[in-house]
């Protein structure tokens, strides 16, 4: 974890209520895919945690949806504004267990993480397959980037306005060695109930601090209480309780 003042390099509207923000960083702070960061917004007390989409040595970008006052305020921020950010939070995905043909499933805000993870797995010589889901066409992002990876890729929307109609759980019928998933709890639960393949799930939840101090985001697991922000956000699928 590191605190840094990051400058907004880009804050663009992708659709009705979805935005992409790009921030500067002085060095790479995300050695593992699935790690996250937390912004401190002017006039708001608690930090806001977000997962990454893309990152390099001098910048990182993420997609956010306007869901409350904090994200509403973010949507009005401009290029050049500075934000206090805690970088490199959380444990991230472990690549070692993936097998040769892992299936990556992302839903909504969790889609971006899968792009990052897919690139790491490719570097390891693996053959990831990807399935992502959105509510509707207007919310779709990262499609071009995913397709440029030249991997088996399926896009789903709930209303069928882009890609296949339905949820990315439809991709579970194909053969895979391992599961990686990130998205709403309902999606993760549906995957866990449908597919017994071992895997790792990254959880979304409301957090207080984002670094393990407040115990605001503790969940019950088969191993006992765990903090999503510090012990996670990535958990072994088989240790989660539904």
């Amino acid at each position: 974890m590191k605190e840094e003042t990051c400058v907004i390099l880009e804050n663009v509207r992708l659709s009705e209520n979805t935005y992409r923000m790009k921030l500067s960083q002085q060095e790479e702070n995300f050695p593992r895919p699935g790690m996250f960061f937390a912004l401190r917004l002017p006039s708001f007390f608690l930090r806001r945690p977000f997962s990454l989409w893309q990152h390099d040595e001098s910048s990182f970008s993420f997609v956010y949806k306007v869901v409350g006052k904090g994200t509403e305020a973010m949507s009005h921020m401009s290029k050049g504004d500075a934000l206090d950010v805690l970088l490199g939070l959380g444990n991230g995905y472990c690549l070692a267990k993936s097998g040769d043909y892992p299936l990556l499933i992302g839903g909504g805000s969790g889609v971006g993480v899968m792009y990052d993870l897919a690139r790491y797995l490719l570097q390891e010589g693996k053959h990831p397959q990807i399935a992502v889901g959105f509510n509707r066409k207007e919310e779709v992002y990262a499609e071009k980037e995913f397709r440029s990876l030249n991997l088996p890729f399926r896009l789903f929307t709930v209303d069928g306005s882009a890609g296949e109609k339905g949820f990315p759980t439809l991709a579970l019928s194909s053969s895979h060695s391992y599961l990686y998933a990130c998205g709403p709890l309902s999606l993760l639960k549906a995957i866990a109930e449908t597919d017994l393949t071992p895997g790792q799930f990254s959880l979304e939840c409301h957090m207080g601090c984002g670094y393990g101090c407040c115990m605001g985001c503790t969940i019950k697991t088969k191993l006992g209480p765990r903090r999503v922000c510090k012990d996670g956000p990535v958990f072994e699928k088989e240790n989660l309780l539904w």
Binding site: F45, L46, G208, Y211, C213, C214, M215, G216, T218
Partner: protein, 301 residues
């Protein structure tokens, strides 16, 4: 060169900055961010006899300049704290901590405190009669006779200085403080969180699963300051000021109100480096206000 040292029940602390219970876990994880030995001390996560998961989620909400928390004393229980948490802490921390002791009966308070009292790393016992987020606990913080009873039970079995942590959710906090002093308390720490709630406009329901929680953060600083002032003028034992401290100037103000030391709580949850920043920023703030010896300003207001 200014003197930031303060004396608390005969123990000298390098500075008055203490991280508050529930915002610093058991300390060792924060040691990867900065040398936590810089702090005057810290108060460990509120510990009960048995392990507790705490309250259902959501158990955290936001307020203007503050956070509303309803954790419900999640902790691994006294055995695990002594066997697992303290050994980890000792590897990175060589000072004494405040052991924040919680319970649901006078017996439980005294048992947890007794166990903590045996530990080398514990310098002070902080008896937390004031957690706003567990059922049944508020009676100890709102009834002077019960507050005195808990204090007495703990004092009978323990040797280390006993601070009783008070709740602001009472009609007359001074009467509770005096009762604790009569019960033998060596000091008072105050305040714990203020009862609060938020409602989500879309769902039309309370944000927190248990509806209400405790507000802390800069929003409560003036309230805490007033209560510290009242209590410090009514008792003759040292007082630790807690509530919304964010800057070195807040530390000075709290001490002028009568606090011998301060605890920093909610700010640990948004700025993990706040303890270090306060410790390093304090000498400069003292110079700005022509304070050479911090002890000299305690209760001057």
């Amino acid at each position: 060169m200014v003197n930031t040292k303060i004396s608390l029940c005969g123990e000298v602390l390098d500075n008055p900055i203490i991280a508050a219970a529930g915002t610093f876990h058991y300390g060792y994880e924060m040691a990867s961010l900065y040398d936590i030995n810089l702090l005057g001390s810290f108060s460990c996560k509120g510990t009960t006899l048995q392990p507790r998961f705490g309250n259902p989620s959501p158990r955290i909400a936001e307020g203007k300049d503050g956070v509303i928390i309803s954790i419900g004393l999640e902790n691994p229980g006294i055995d695990a704290v002594i066997q697992k948490e303290f050994p980890r802490l000792k590897k990175v921390y060589h000072k004494k901590i405040f052991a924040n002791c919680c319970g649901f009966s006078p017996e439980e308070f005294s048992e947890v405190a007794y166990r903590m009292d045996q530990e080398d790393i514990v310098g002070f016992l902080e008896i937390n009669i004031s957690c706003p987020n567990v059922k049944g606990a508020s009676r100890f913080s709102s009834d002077p006779a019960l507050a005195k009873e808990v204090t007495k039970r703990v004092k009978e079995r323990c040797h280390k200085p006993v601070f009783v942590k008070l709740s602001p959710n009472v009609t007359d906090i001074v009467s509770i403080a005096k009762a604790c002093e009569e019960g033998g308390a060596d000091g008072i720490s105050l305040i714990n969180c203020i009862h609060a709630m938020r409602i989500d406009l879309k769902s039309r329901k309370p944000v927190l699963a248990l509806k209400k929680g405790g507000l802390s953060g800069p929003a409560i600083f003036p309230i805490a300051l007033r209560m510290v002032y009242d209590v410090a003028h009514a008792v003759s034992i040292p007082v630790i000021g807690i509530g919304g401290i964010e800057t070195p100037e807040d530390v000075l103000e709290m001490m002028m109100a009568g606090a011998s030391a301060v605890e920093v709580g909610a700010m640990n949850l948004v700025d993990p480096y706040i303890g270090k920043k306060l410790v390093l920023g304090l000498p400069e703030a003292m110079e700005r206000y022509h304070i050479s010896d911090l002890s000299s300003i305690i209760g001057v207001a």
